[in-house]
Amino acid sequence: MDSLLDSIRVLDLTDEKGLLCGRILGDMGADVIVVESPSGNSARRRGPFYQDTPHPERSLFWFALNTNKRSITLNLETVDGRELFKKLVRTSDFVIESFSPHHMDDLGLGYEVLAKLNPALVMTSITPFGTQGPYASYKGADIVLMGLSGLSYISGEPTREPLRIPVPQSYFHAGSWAAASSMIAFYHREITGQGQKVDVSMQQAATWATYSTQEWWSYAKTNLTRQGTWRQIGTSRMQVLYPCQDGHVMLFILGGAAAAAGQDLFIEWMDKEGMCPDWLRGFDFSKLDVSTATQDFFNRLSEALVSFTATKTKAELFEWALENTLFLAPVSNARDLLENPQLRARNFWISLEHSELETSITHPGPFAVLSETPIQVAKRAPLLGEHNMEIYHGELGLSNQELALLKQGEVI
């Protein structure tokens, strides 16, 4: 079947900071080749691992980000390695890399050099802070980028430390923005024949995930702050995360007629079970203006709701909310997600066979449903150098003898 990026080739030199970019391009049908050092991509050493056994061929982190890719090993620190890389560049459309700024230049593989070999090449660099500027040489661990982007400051309890999300979000933001910007550059090249260099900053990518934080400052000279399980709504704070029997749910109470209908029914349900305080019985939500409601109101509301939700399960509450239109959703864990009826109905979870491990592993599938060129998540992440023969021998025409030589020279 046709794919969106049929016959487009990507050389993926990234580590965990940028691997998502190649996954997105690969899912759209590009031929993505991860070029790994002979010791393997550092993301292979990231947990979690299959059956908790750390091993470069068992990293679930690696599996998640490398479906649909092929792998070759290549030591870019050697002359032969660089020559082979240049050969590959001649037949490629994209080079994506996430080394320290200017590392590719130092290797003699900077954009200027590669563009001479292939003027149509799009070369994308993913770095913590961009390749130029006062922070360009700074190190950017995920927690650091989450802090510097403004995301952490607003996540967590008001009196405790700001939080990160325990999967490196800045890497994923950067990888997905790299896919977006690389495609835009590629469009320009389709029209003009001109490739170019794309510079993606992880700090900037993550700061695009901070809602209206920047505008709260520039429009209203206000710093948004951490709000724990409550959220600032107008002048007061409303509890939004509620404990229930088997976890938590998120619930927003709103004013106005549209929201009131479901909320009225919810209060009736509480009342039927003898759990509605007198003041709340018959409360007119259609007249509620949440932006001016008092803190005392929200505190009393929270008290009433907490004791009720605690007697129900996530599924019971969500089922009810769907039927009666209440702004409530379960706080899902991984099991809930894998069992989520919507994700199942859309065939989102894809099971890929890992025959070396004698098992199949469930992966997140197509990121969208396309009518003409469906996204196919068909191939598990490659083993280290799995496609050396196929690419070096089959496509570049190196002889077996030459390959053996390169292997002994620790080039591949």
Binding site: I184, N223, H248, R346
Partner: protein
């Protein structure tokens, strides 16, 4: 002559609300596409009617949240329930390459603007629908915002302190992880159309891209049946690794020490006090075993210094560190200033306000945000006359019909 932009000539119509669809169009607009944002005064975009407003004064054209995602677009206010309104919409569909909508499933179909409908007007159109759950399926009817979507996608369950319940990221986080993929998909679809002549329909669920951003931990359950717990700021392969309180009111600096070399550098920065030489901190394994103690010691050092000082001392020594930026900090961040991340643009009603530039730079076709977000219906005339090529008479007649708002 103006510098070429990479998406020069690409035409986009939006019938979008809130964040994902509008943000997708915004970036495409920054990169040169001509974007027409169609909305209605009868049911204004939620982002137009929530804080923050310029100088705290509410007003439909004063909302920062709307402006952020709608720069570099022409704005049209159109009544789609009016026969002349839908006629204008059809002409826009005929004109456009891409149609982006982000309504609750079923809403655009009511106006005959579902894929089947628009394809009849423009057979090779590329249409993108984005919503919480996707167009079809047992939960497609779910009504909610990205805040609920983020909880359902798993972000809240995982984000929190090890000794407390879920806290979650701040807001509608699944909205924050989606536009990037959609920009890539829309542009890829444009290229595919150039090559084959075929348009297509893209059905996107924000829950799904949300799940991709947590993939390793979801796969951990799928493969190992382990439900990841909340770990605060801890990371298995690093210590110290956290946000540490610094001098001042609610000031923090993150520090991540990932290997022995960085630990050596870290110790030198803090003046190698005796505790750094104790065996309980001598190796990563020992530091992980005694991490609570370690964090207290690190914080007691940090609290004597400003967050900026901690960041700069650590980074100069090769240790990853950074202040936990407030909104105000973002606006004065020296790297952002160097990159011109914020650009002041003049907005018709509220004057000069800063807009975020895209998080990437092109060497040959630099893209910057160029035009402030539109007031409601600001470009009605421009769109009718210059984009749709209406005559004076036709335009006046359209105004008189009441279809323009």
């Amino acid at each position: 002559m103006e510098k070429p932009l990479p998406l020069d000539g690409v035409k986009i119509i939006e019938l979008t609300r809130v964040i994902v669809g509008s943000c997708t169009g915004r970036i495409l607009g920054d990169c040169g596409a001509t974007v027409v944002h169609v909305e209605t005064a009868k049911k204004p975009d939620t982002l137009r009617i929530i804080f923050p407003y310029k100088d705290g004064t509410p007003g439909i054209n004063r909302a920062g949240y709307f402006n952020k995602y709608n720069a570099d677009k022409y704005g049209m206010a159109l009544d789609l329930t009016h026969p002349r309104g839908i006629e204008v919409m059809h002409r826009l569909i005929e004109w456009t390459d891409v149609f982006i909508e982000s309504n609750v499933p079923g809403v655009v179909a009511k106006h005959g603007l579902d894929y089947e409908g628009v394809k009849e007007i423009k057979p090779d159109i590329i249409m993108l629908s984005t919503c919480q759950m996707g167009q079809k399926g047992p939960l497609a009817r779910f009504k909610g915002y990205g805040v609920q979507g983020a909880a359902m996608a798993g972000f809240h369950e995982l984000t929190g302190y090890s000794d407390s319940g879920p806290v979650g990221p701040f807001g509608s986080y699944t909205d924050m992880v989606s536009p990037q993929w959609l920009i890539a998909a829309v542009v890829a679809a444009l290229i595919y159309r150039r090559r084959t002549g075929k348009g297509q329909y893209i059905d996107h669920s924000q829950l799904e891209t949300g799940s991709h951003f947590l993939a390793p931990l979801i796969m951990d359950y799928a493969a190992n049946k382990r439900l990841a717990g909340r770990v605060g700021n801890r990371e298995e392969f690093a210590a110290p690794h956290g946000a540490y309180r610094c001098k001042g009111d609610d000031r923090w600096c993150t520090i991540a020490v990932c290997d022995d070399e960085e630990w050596g550098a870290f110790c030198r920065v803090i003046g190698s006090p005796p505790w750094t030489k104790e065996s309980r901190f001598s190796s990563l394994l020992e530091r992980k075993r005694n991490e609570d103690e370690l964090d207290k010691l690190v914080e007691s050092w940090a609290m004597e210094r400003t967050a900026e000082e901690v960041m700069s001392l650590m980074q100069q020594a090769g240790v990853s560190a950074g202040i936990v930026a407030t909104a105000e900090d973002l606006h004065r961040d020296s790297q952002f200033r160097y990159q011109g991340h914020f650009k002041l643009l003049n907005h018709t009603e509220i004057g000069a306000v800063p807009f975020d530039n895209p998080p990437f730079r092109f060497s040959k076709t630099p893209c910057e945000v160029r035009m402030s977000a539109p007031c409601l219906g600001e470009h009605n005339e421009y769109i009718c006359r210059h984009i749709l090529g209406m005559s004076d008479e036709e335009f006046v007649e359209l105004i008189q019909s009441g279809a323009l708002e």
